[in-house]
């Protein structure tokens, strides 16, 4: 389980401490054991289609009109780091 937790944490882009890996591994074992009742106890071959949403899903369109958007200074006001009208992040392409 610990390997799985490390692998999934990497997918989710979360750095975990070794202590967290151990704790989450034990807890996820318990939770997965519980939710596995869906596979152990319930045979639903063909009985139900998957449901992703409470209402019949359909695309929701609106008219394609130009409307005012937020000014850059308001959008950037919460940025941890900015430069001019941009969000500043560490170098993305390694030299």
């Amino acid at each position: 389980m610990e390997d799985k937790v490390r692998y999934v944490a990497r997918l989710a882009r979360i750095k975990l401490t070794d202590g967290e890996v151990g704790l989450f591994s034990r807890q996820l074992d318990g939770i997965l054991g519980y939710v596995d009742k869906l596979n152990r106890k319930l045979d639903i071959q063909g009985k139900a289609p998957p449901m992703s949403h409470p209402h019949e899903a359909s695309n929701s369109f609106r008219a394609d009109e130009v409307k005012p958007s937020l000014p850059p200074e308001k959008v950037l006001a919460n940025a941890p780091q900015k430069k001019g009208d941009f969000f500043k992040v560490p170098r993305i392409i390694e030299e």
Binding site: K4, V8, L16, L38, P54, Q81, P90
Partner: protein
């Protein structure tokens, strides 16, 4: 006038109408109440009297909530006001826009009054997962107020707010309402716009009201409900006159009692209170029938797969780029993502993101995520069968136990998840439900009952709830603080 803070919105609006009082007096009264009791309860993350008073000076000429202070859960965006989801990763975040519900409240003259504490990102049933501090139950401060909207429930219960707004993904309005002895409703999925609600699980989340009585809850829902083109999942169905549904009459109403919600080993006092409520409604002319929701036992498993899967995707946006927390001196982009999220999220948020990522990952998707989506359909079908058989509503306890002790379940996530067994199915199906006080334990803790309705039939719930409330006085009790 003394003790304005203890009145309902309905009562205050009456006094405002007669010009007996001014909005500023309400703010002063509720604020000084909060000053004196919130040290014990800790329901508010932020409360600014001057801002509230400034709002009272620029109210619209008329409005259904004109002059009424409404507290807001901290996962709902209020322009220019700290909105953090009680998470370190959103520390300092001030939204550049209002959520749709906030816009509606403001245009009806409500005074946005403080942001309330919650489990981080609404992950929890006790308010202990707030990264700032836990909120405590006004009826017994050694106990939790429920969650995740524990702050909103507690401040209404303690008369530190006249009304409040919360969000409910698996019971996060109804369970704390039950544990704090107030009214709380999760409307039909799509009834209230989610625009500006920081998403947890988008197919389950719904914003709803907390209030001191049914009339206030109906009033608050009428203000916030309605189609919104900014939320493609909001549904374009006219909003009925909920206040017109408040009839003290349930003659001919058919109420279903699901056997799966009354099981051996459940808390005796909770069961007794729910059964007495059923008897009362029967005595008032309701027809009570036994019904079955056969897939109830799978609801918690389905929920913790689907809700965490959706959360793992929704919380990807917290990456240290555009807002909130960013780790110190990242070596590169990946390091920035991983450390920002590792340091910024609390334990339960990390646990849920890991679980949600796992059930969506290659090799496990079919066994967990797809299977859960199929069982979700069976759970929805259960409710549709009951309503097709002619039931107007379903009555159950809201929570299997009264408020538990601080720390009692915090070390064991699974036992915490199981405290939501009576509320989760409703979100999976998408139907509306409310919780209201229906008694007290011998030790003085509130007990709540849940009324569940068919899609967009909140009005019937208000009708049954109003009848019950008109014939009981549980809602008039207040905690001693």
């Amino acid at each position: 006038m003394d003790n304005l803070y203890s009145l309902t919105a309905g009562e205050l609006l009456g006094l405002l109408d007669k010009k007996t009082i001014k909005p500023e007096e309400i703010i002063e009264s509720v604020y000084s109440r909060a000053q004196s009791v919130d040290k014990k309860i800790k329901g508010y993350l932020n409360l600014d009297k001057e801002k509230a008073l400034a709002r009272a000076k620029s109210l619209p000429a008329s409005g259904r909530l004109r002059g009424i202070p409404v507290a807001i859960k901290d996962n709902i965006c209020v322009e220019g006001e700290l909105t953090t989801c009680a998470s370190k990763i959103l520390r300092g975040f001030k939204p550049p826009y209002d959520a749709t519900v906030i816009g509606k409240l403001k245009s009806e003259g409500a005074i946005i009054f403080g942001k309330t504490n919650m489990d981080e990102f609404a992950f929890g049933s006790s308010c202990e997962n707030s990264s700032y501090f836990p909120t405590l139950n006004p009826w017994d401060t050694s106990r939790i107020p429920g969650g995740s909207s524990g702050g909103s429930a507690a401040v209404v219960s303690a008369d530190e707010a006249v009304m409040a707004i919360g969000s409910d993904t698996g019971g996060s309005i109804r369970q704390p309402a039950s544990l704090c002895g107030v009214v709380g409703m999760k409307p039909t999925y799509g009834r209230v716009s989610r625009y500006g609600l920081i998403a947890f699980a988008s197919s389950l989340d719904q914003i709803g009201p907390f209030a001191k009585d049914i009339k206030d809850a109906a009033l608050l829902l009428s203000v916030i409900a309605g189609f919104d083109e900014k939320d493609s999942t909001s549904v374009n169905v006219p909003v009925p006159d909920y206040l017109g549904c408040l009839k003290n009459d349930v003659k001919g109403m058919k109420i279903g009692i699901p056997k799966e919600y009354f099981v051996p080993g459940m808390d005796k006092e909770v069961e007794a209170a729910a059964r007495e409520a059923i008897a009362l409604l029967k005595g008032k002319g309701a027809q009570v029938v036994d019904v079955s929701l056969p897939h109830t036992e799978y609801a918690v498993a389905v929920y913790y797969i689907l809700a965490t899967a959706e959360a793992s995707s929704n919380l990807a946006r917290f990456d240290g780029v555009q807002f909130g927390y960013r780790c110190e001196d990242p070596a590169n982009l990946l390091d920035m993502y991983e450390r920002t999220r590792g340091e910024g999220f609390g334990a339960e948020a990390k646990r849920r993101i890991i679980l949600g990522t796992y059930v969506l990952s290659s090799g496990y998707y079919d066994a967990y995520y797809l299977k859960a989506q199929k069982v979700r359909m069976l759970i929805k079908n259960d409710f549709e069968q009951v309503f097709k058989s002619g039931c107007d509503c379903i009555l159950t306890p809201t929570s299997p136990t009264p408020a538990f002790k601080v720390g009692e379940k915090s070390a064991d996530p699974l036992s915490m998840y199981l405290s939501d067994i009576f509320t989760i199915s409703v979100n999976l199906a998408g139907v509306p439900a409310l919780s209201m006080p229906c008694g007290f334990t011998k030790s003085g803790l509130p007990i709540g009952m849940q009324l569940i309705g068919n899609f967009f039939e909140e009005g019937k719930l208000f009708n049954a709830a109003y009848t019950y409330e008109s014939n009981t006085d549980w809602h008039k009790r207040s905690p001693e603080l």
